[in-house]
């Protein structure tokens, strides 16, 4: 009996002495015989699969070679938990020798999962058979099986399989799943942060934008820079000169005291002029000193202090 893949089958039983597959051009599910996994059934007081999976490694401590890395598959079987440990690298290497490329493998199932479907021994090659012993699927040499027993064949087409594991993108890709998750998460976070930052940066001028829109809504004419410049060029000099005139008058008023009197003050288009009569030379010099500090030009001498400033 040969249980290797038929051309139209998408399930394949994998065992050590299987024949190589030639020209596999479609994806398949594989069913591993116990030659490729270690099985333990335990009654555990855990409720969820992830809890059972957390303790899977410790359960196999005494059974596995720790120089290799193992993967674990856990599922609930009746009231117990079924634990399967397998080495995906070894399985992959074996599949390669049989001409099965890893990317052709869709899902991996374990012969143990066929427990309800194997009642009589199933011959897998000339020397061994799959046998259900106390609800554990085992490979048994045909030599030790009673000759009177009739072997069944495994109809892979009609098999109903559930709960398989994927080959794992770690083996199908140049980048492992772990690296993919790590780098993918980092890239996603970086992208997210950048988008958030970008949005925040753009938002940082939204206040100014809103204010500008509000101002322009009130005066649409100001949208034109020429109009703005024209208005500013009209008012800026006015503001500057008028402030200067007022400041100068205030400065002149500071030159006055009970020892000095204003004789004349004129403002015309270009200049402001004042004549202050001081009581004596000392006051006159003091007035002159202060006037110079305030950028006035001193004209004449004596007690009549004449000051002038260009506007």
């Amino acid at each position: 009996m040969n249980l290797t893949a038929k051309s139209n089958s998408n399930k394949l039983l994998i065992h050590r002495d299987m024949n190589p597959i030639s020209s596999l051009d479609h994806s398949i599910d594989i069913i591993l015989t116990p030659q490729f996994y270690t099985f333990i059934r335990e009654e555990l007081d855990v409720k969820f699969n992830y809890q059972a999976k957390q303790i899977a490694q410790s359960l196999f401590d005494d059974y596995l070679d720790h120089s290799h890395e193992y993967q674990y598959h856990v599922y609930k079987c009746d009231s117990s938990w079924c634990f399967l440990a397998y080495n995906i690298d070894k399985i992959d290497a074996f599949l390669q020798t049989k001409g099965i490329e890893k990317h052709r493998v869709s899902k991996i199932y374990f012969a143990q999962q066929l427990i309800g479907q194997i009642e009589t021994p199933i011959l897998i090659d000339d020397n061994s058979a799959l046998v259900n012993i106390d609800n554990v699927i085992t490979i048994v040499p045909t030599k030790i099986i009673d000759n009177s027993i009739e072997y069944n064949s495994l109809d892979t087409k009609s098999l109903k399989l559930r709960g398989g594991v994927t080959m794992g993108s770690s083996l199908n890709s140049y980048v492992s799943l772990k690296e993919t998750l790590l780098l993918g998460t980092i890239f996603t976070i970086l992208g997210g942060i950048s988008l958030f930052e970008g949005e925040r940066i753009k938002h940082s001028i939204s206040k100014e934008n809103a204010k500008l829109t509000e101002l322009l809504d009130e005066n649409p004419r100001y949208a034109s820079s020429m109009v703005r410049e024209s208005i500013l060029s009209k008012y800026k000099p006015i503001d500057k000169i008028e402030r200067l005139k007022r400041d100068s008058i205030k400065d002149i008023s500071k030159l006055l005291s009970n020892k000095s009197e204003l004789e004349l003050l004129t403002i015309d288009k270009n200049r402001i002029k004042a004549t202050i009569k001081a009581q004596n030379g000392a006051t006159s010099r003091e007035i002159g000193k202060y006037a110079k500090k305030r950028h006035f030009k001193l004209l004449g001498s004596g007690v009549d202090v004449k000051v002038e400033k260009k506007l």
Binding site: H103, S173, F187, E197
Partner: protein, 138 residues
Amino acid sequence: MNIMTLQRYKNEIILLFTALFALFGFYYKLSAQSYVEDNKAVIQKQISEIVEIESYKKQWKSKGIANRVNIFKKIVPKSKRKRFSKKSSKVSVSYINLTTNDLNKISNKLLNMPIQIIKLNIAKKSKNNFTMEFTCKW
């Protein structure tokens, strides 16, 4: 490219998309920065110019000024007011026989009023007696 190939390079595809996402995010951030750098200064300049114009207009083109300048008519007794002329947006006033107090009062009013002083002339005639004339516009 068939489904199998996609499945085979699933990790690389995921990485490619996440890396593209990160690159897109980074590009978005850079373009946002450049947009803000280019526009912030321009917007702020526009705002400050408009605010400046508004404040200048409020100051030097105030609507109530035409009425406010009437104060120069009443600020001293009529006998001291030689002339008061208000035309369009221009006012010309001249006073005689002003005391120092009158002069200070008128000067303060004039300096605190947002109008353009076109011409101002204050002259002392005798002790505590001044003449004053000014022309202003708004």
